[in-house]
């Protein structure tokens, strides 16, 4: 009889422990496991920089014959991007960044995102690639200015107030948020990343978002003159042009001393 009772009691205790554990595990377990295993509270699903519709500058002219051939040809994708990356391609005066963040805890809050300047040099003057479409400019909600001493994101409607001081982003596990941000930089050439502060389970953690291909994001001010000028030809390939022509077709360059 006692054995029976002990058995039943054990089963009940095990069941209760099981239920409690299951409940706890369902609620917090994955978070605890992720925390213990060092998983970040958010994952970066996608990072992209839009170079397609912006003027960009290179730090050095493209002089290597092989690289020059790739730059001037319709060779797209990886070969072209590799040449651009080697020359530290940076959009002129502002860079538009799209980031997709994915929640990696049952509940979390993004309480701040700010650009962190990693390197600051004189503006790039090796080459400028002038985009001439004249298409519509996308309206991007969040923007930051690296020329400021402590750059932070704000909205166009309320540029004096940090966006994340008034508003934070709540995410659940697996939930996604797409952020389109515009980062300005006119006084220098900047390399930067984005520092995300996340609150999860009453703990704050910081996650760094790097640019595509693990490179830093880049943006540069406009130089007074460039060593080489290019524009997109009617055949949609880059075509060398004289400075005078660049002065005529691009407003940003028009304002420089070189024009």
């Amino acid at each position: 009889m006692r054995t029976w009772l002990a058995g039943i009691l054990s089963a009940v205790i095990i069941a209760v422990i099981g239920v409690v554990f299951t409940t706890w595990f369902n609620a917090r377990g994955p978070d605890a496991v992720d925390r213990i295993s060092g998983e970040p509270p958010i994952k970066v699903g996608h990072v992209a920089v839009d170079y397609s519709t912006q003027d960009t500058a290179l730090r050095e002219p493209v002089t290597d014959p092989g690289e020059r051939a790739v730059l001037l040809s319709s060779a797209s994708g990886s070969r072209h991007d590799a040449v651009m990356a080697r020359h530290h391609r940076a959009p002129l005066e502002k860079v538009d960044v799209t980031v997709v963040l994915i929640g990696n805890r049952s509940s979390l809050r993004i309480i701040d995102i700010k650009p962190r300047v990693l390197d600051r040099k004189s503006v790039s003057d090796g080459a400028v690639l002038v985009y001439t479409s004249g298409g519509e400019v996308d309206t991007i909600e969040l923007s930051a200015d690296l020329d400021e001493p402590a750059p932070r994101f704000a909205t166009a409607k309320d540029p004096d107030t940090s966006y994340f001081r008034k508003k934070q982003i709540d995410l659940k596990r697996g939930e996604r948020v797409t952020l389109s941000m515009s980062i300005k930089g006119t006084a220098a050439y900047y390399e930067f990343d984005l520092l995300v502060t996340v609150l999860a389970e009453d703990r704050t953690e910081q996650i760094t978002i790097e640019g595509p291909d693990k490179n830093p994001f880049r943006v540069t001010g406009t130089a007074d003159a460039y060593r080489t000028y290019y524009t997109l030809s009617p055949l949609r390939v880059w075509q060398p042009i004289p400075r005078g022509q660049a002065c005529v077709i691009e407003r940003k360059i028009q304002k420089t001393k070189g024009c």
Partner: protein
């Protein structure tokens, strides 16, 4: 019971069966797969694919018939398998409105007739078998297009016909009323109003209607609707980041008869089966694979577009042929097989088992073509249309560095785009030849298609040439069978290209330099002939005599011929000096901006102003720059007595302008004069040391040529009137848009006479043979006595075409004036018509009288040279684009500039 002999026989038979069966059983099965669409039959189809507002089809397909609407209002019924004409449903004599739609559902033919500007459309039901009329009713289909942002709207076919009934969207703006009609009686079965705030698109399957809606709150829904009851069947929510916040036109839906639906939201695509099952969210995710389970085609289009590589290649259209795409019902992947027609002029009409029907809108050859699906064992990628991928040539091997050396030594070949469309060919299909220095030009080459037969390639090439000629200016001087060079105008400039067909191969060459295209294309054609048709020589262009010079943009300014040299400018910014007899280049100067205004050549100096704010003076003998000045010129240049006069504006968008006088030798600014009010650049007119300028406020100003000081001014028209000036001897004739005409003494401004016309004057007058000729936008020509202002006669024609430019030429007692459709030779004394000559869609260049002939260009780019006395055609020449300049006749040649970038020199005696 079998005997022993019988047993042996039976055993033998059994053994034979086993022996025969075993190898068959053990051999790997080679299932037949779709490999090719073969053209089975085709018929002319000359009506458009649909009114833009109604988007209703003019062609219909069912298992039993193919219906083709005609311009005459009849409907031809063809056998779908053979193309045989079974019957023709006659036009309705009581209803002259054109056919706006044709449908076949079950055994009923439905025809709609109407015009976009009239709401009521006639809808007829016919028995498909007999053609007998079943019913007729009127439906209201408003063509009003909503323009207000945020208001729900319907875009798509306004009438959709299915086996279960007819659905009519009566309005394209809210409230969106949907009416259902019975197919066999035309009676209304039900009617609903769609909820407000939604943007709708619709498409019909055989038994249902698919509605794609984008409603407030970014809710995207795809709904299958019963055409009889208008009740919803299945509904699917679509998730897309491309959904525009307020809804709008970025959503599209297409469907085929079997119920497969393709919904498109921005760049996202969704493919559904007839039961509403999501098959794939491609095409990028779906990819384009070889067909295995072939559903009836759902789409026709370019391979690169369907493969999700939008923008990766020029025009999103590589390779050249159209493909018919199906959705594999099992995997959701797309399958595509090519046709023998260019991708940009093809639409899918419908399909039946094993056949597809395609409308091709090739210029002057619109057709419905029935294609039969053929099966085979081929495992080649379907992208290549049954041709082994290894048969495609290496694009970089079609030219050599030696070929490119005609441009410069040291060109380097770069294989083309590395993220091509789906299945990679083993060799690059595109190649860019990069010049050794930055002042060279890139030459690009792409293999557009390799056909399974020479005839297939020729058909595709011929259709593409028709499309190219319709959309672009081309070069008739180099055209030959299998060879066409043309000029493409993009928003940021021009480029030249040549499309070449040799044997089964179609290749395209392009470059920003038309001269490079002209030099390299024949070499490329020769290389292709050596490989694919050894021993065959390239057929040369037919035309002989004269010459032409290719520039890289439109030639806007009149060529100037001085001392055996032609000075020509181009929108590409170049000033060229060409030998007048041979066209050989003497020199060339790049100004760095487009040249639109007429240049002048005076005393050994060429003056030219570009639109980028640069005015240059060049040595006419060497092309060396004498001086350059930054000034925004907005007029033709006028040079007299060592001074250059131009109108300038600063900033460029300013409505006010000033006349600036510059020293012709140094470019130094001498003086400027800014009249009151707006001025739209009437060219200054000089009489001795007095500069006369007109205005936009009825005033004529006379300025001292040395100082720019105002000597006098005269009101020649009303406060809002434009004044046009012309000089003859010492007299300046001023005409204004209110019809006032004055003859002034150029030095003093004294009015010799004034006259009034009963119509406006819109162009600079012409003085010749003792008469002043004036004209307006309506095409009316007035003649006044130059000495007295007495009105001699007027001649009214039918003008008012946008861009119409009045001009006259006077010679041998005749006045030549054109209008929208004809050139008239008028008696200079009486104004009566002596003869007239048809000019198609109107006059664009000239008339210019010279040597007993009249030179005139028509709106379709043909230069006509007519006998001045009789109007008979001496010769004519198709320039390949529009004629942009007045003909200039000098030294036995006629010079004109064209929109294709050519400067033509044509023998005056016979082009």
């Amino acid at each position: 019971m079998l005997t022993v002999r019988g047993r042996r026989r039976a055993a033998g038979v059994l053994l034979a069966v086993v022996l025969v069966a075993c190898p068959a059983a053990s051999a790997p099965r080679l299932p037949l797969v779709p490999v090719e669409w073969r053209a089975a039959w085709s018929v002319p189809a000359d009506t458009d694919t649909g009114e833009p507002f109604f988007e209703t089809p003019r062609y219909a397909v069912s298992d039993h018939a193919v219906a083709v609407a005609t311009r005459q209002g009849t409907v031809r019924i063809h056998d779908p398998r053979t193309g045989e004409l079974r019957r023709t449903v006659p036009a309705d004599p009581a209803l002259t409105a054109p056919i706006t739609g044709v449908w076949i559902a079950a055994d009923t033919l439905v025809v709609s007739r109407g015009t976009p500007d009239i709401v009521d459309h006639a809808l007829d039901g016919h028995d498909l078998t007999t053609g007998a009329a079943l019913w007729r009713r009127t439906i209201a289909v408003s063509s009003h297009q909503p323009r207000t942002e945020g208001i729900g709207a319907y875009r798509g076919p306004r009438i959709m016909v299915t086996e279960r009934g007819i659905v009519v969207l009566e309005r394209s703006a809210e409230p969106l009323d949907i009416r259902a009609l019975d197919l066999r009686t035309g009676a209304t079965t039900t009617r609903v109003t769609y909820p407000r705030g939604c943007h709708l698109r619709g498409a019909a399957t055989a038994r249902s209607v698919a509605l794609l809606s984008s409603c407030a709150g970014n809710k995207l829904r795809l709904t299958s609707m019963d055409p009889r009851t208008l009740r919803h069947g299945w509904t699917r929510l679509l998730s897309s980041f491309s959904s525009p916040p307020g809804g709008d036109a970025a959503i599209r839906v297409t469907a085929n008869a079997e119920g497969y639906v393709h919904a498109s939201v921005g760049n996202d695509d969704f493919f559904y089966g007839a039961d509403g099952r999501l098959l794939s969210t491609g095409p990028e995710a779906a990819g384009v694979m070889n067909p295995s389970r072939w559903s009836p085609p759902l789409l026709a289009g370019s391979y690169s577009g369907a493969a999700g590589h939008r923008g990766a290649l020029l025009d999103n259209g590589w390779p050249l042929p159209a493909y018919l795409f199906s959705v594999d019902s099992g995997t959701g992947r797309l399958s595509g097989l090519p046709l023998d027609l260019p991708y940009h002029r093809v639409s899918l009409v419908g399909s039946i088992r094993g056949m597809a029907f395609v409308h091709s809108d090739v210029p002057d050859d619109g057709r419905i073509t029935a294609y039969k699906l053929s099966y085979g064992l081929s495992r080649e990628p379907t992208r290549f249309g049954g041709v082994s991928a290894s048969a495609w040539p290496d694009a970089c091997a079609l030219l050599t560095g030696h070929d490119l050396s005609v441009l410069a030594d040291g060109y380097r070949a770069v294989p083309g785009a590395d993220d091509s469309v789906g299945t990679e060919p083993p060799k690059p299909e595109r190649c860019d030849w990069i010049p050794p220095t930055d002042d060279g030009v890139v030459v690009s080459l792409s293999v557009e298609w390799v056909s399974s037969s020479n005839a297939g390639a020729r058909k595709l090439f011929t259709a593409e040439v028709g499309v190219i000629k319709e959309a672009n200016a081309f070069d008739p001087t180099t055209e030959s069978p299998g060879f066409l060079s043309y000029t493409v105008a993009e928003t940021n400039g021009f480029y030249g290209a040549t499309i070449i067909n040799v044997g089964p191969v179609i290749v395209r060459l392009s470059s920003l330099s038309r001269q490079a295209v002209r030099l390299i294309s024949p070499l490329l054609q020769g290389n292709l002939l050596a490989h694919y048709q050894p021993g065959v020589r390239a057929p040369g262009p037919a035309r002989e005599g004269g010459w032409n010079h290719p520039t890289d943009a439109v030639v806007h300014a009149e060529p100037v011929v001085v001392d055996g040299v032609v000075y020509a400018t181009s929108g590409d910014g170049t000033v060229s000096a060409l030998d007048a007899a041979t066209g050989a280049m003497r020199w060339r100067f790049q100004t760095g901006g487009s040249l639109l205004f007429d240049h002048v050549v005076v005393d050994g100096t060429v003056f030219a102003a570009n639109t980028s704010g640069r005015l240059v003076a060049l040595d006419a003998a060497t092309g060396r720059m004498r001086w350059s000045r930054r000034i925004d010129v907005y007029s033709d240049l006028v040079v007299a007595a060592g001074r250059l006069y131009v109108w300038t504006r600063n900033p460029a968008w300013s409505v006010s302008a000033e006349v600036v006088a510059l020293n012709g030798a140094s470019g130094k600014r001498l003086w400027s004069f800014q009249p009151e009010g707006d001025v739209l650049n009437p060219d200054p007119v000089l009489v001795g040391e007095v500069v006369h300028v007109g205005s936009d406020h009825g005033m004529v100003y006379a300025l001292d040529a040395t100082s720019g000081a105002q000597k006098w001014r005269l009101r020649a028209g009303g406060g809002q009137d434009h004044t046009h000036l012309v000089r003859a001897g010492g007299v300046v004739y001023a005409a204004s848009t209110d019809g006032e005409v004055h003859a002034l003494e150029g030095s003093s401004g004294k009015v010799r006479w004034s006259s009034g016309l009963d119509g406006p004057v819109d162009f600079r007058p012409v003085v010749a043979g003792g008469a002043v000729y004036l004209g307006n936008k309506d095409g009316t020509t007035y003649a006044l006595d130059a000495a007295t202002g007495t009105r001699l006669w007027s001649f009214q024609t039918e003008g008012d075409r946008p861009g119409f430019k009045w001009d006259v030429a006077v010679a041998q007692g005749l006045v030549y004036a054109g209008d929208d459709s004809r050139l008239y030779a008028l008696d200079a004394v009486t104004g009566t018509v002596r003869w007239s000559f048809p000019l198609g869609k109107g006059l664009t260049s000239g008339p210019v009288a010279e040597g007993g002939t009249i030179h005139v260009g028509d709106n379709e780019g043909t230069l006509h040279v007519l006998d001045a006395a009789t109007g008979t055609v001496r010769w004519s020449f198709q320039t390949g684009g529009t004629i942009e300049t007045r003909p200039v006749v000098a030294g036995g040649l006629v010079y004109v500039g064209g929109s294709n970038g050519n400067v033509y020199a044509l023998p005056a005696a016979g082009g």
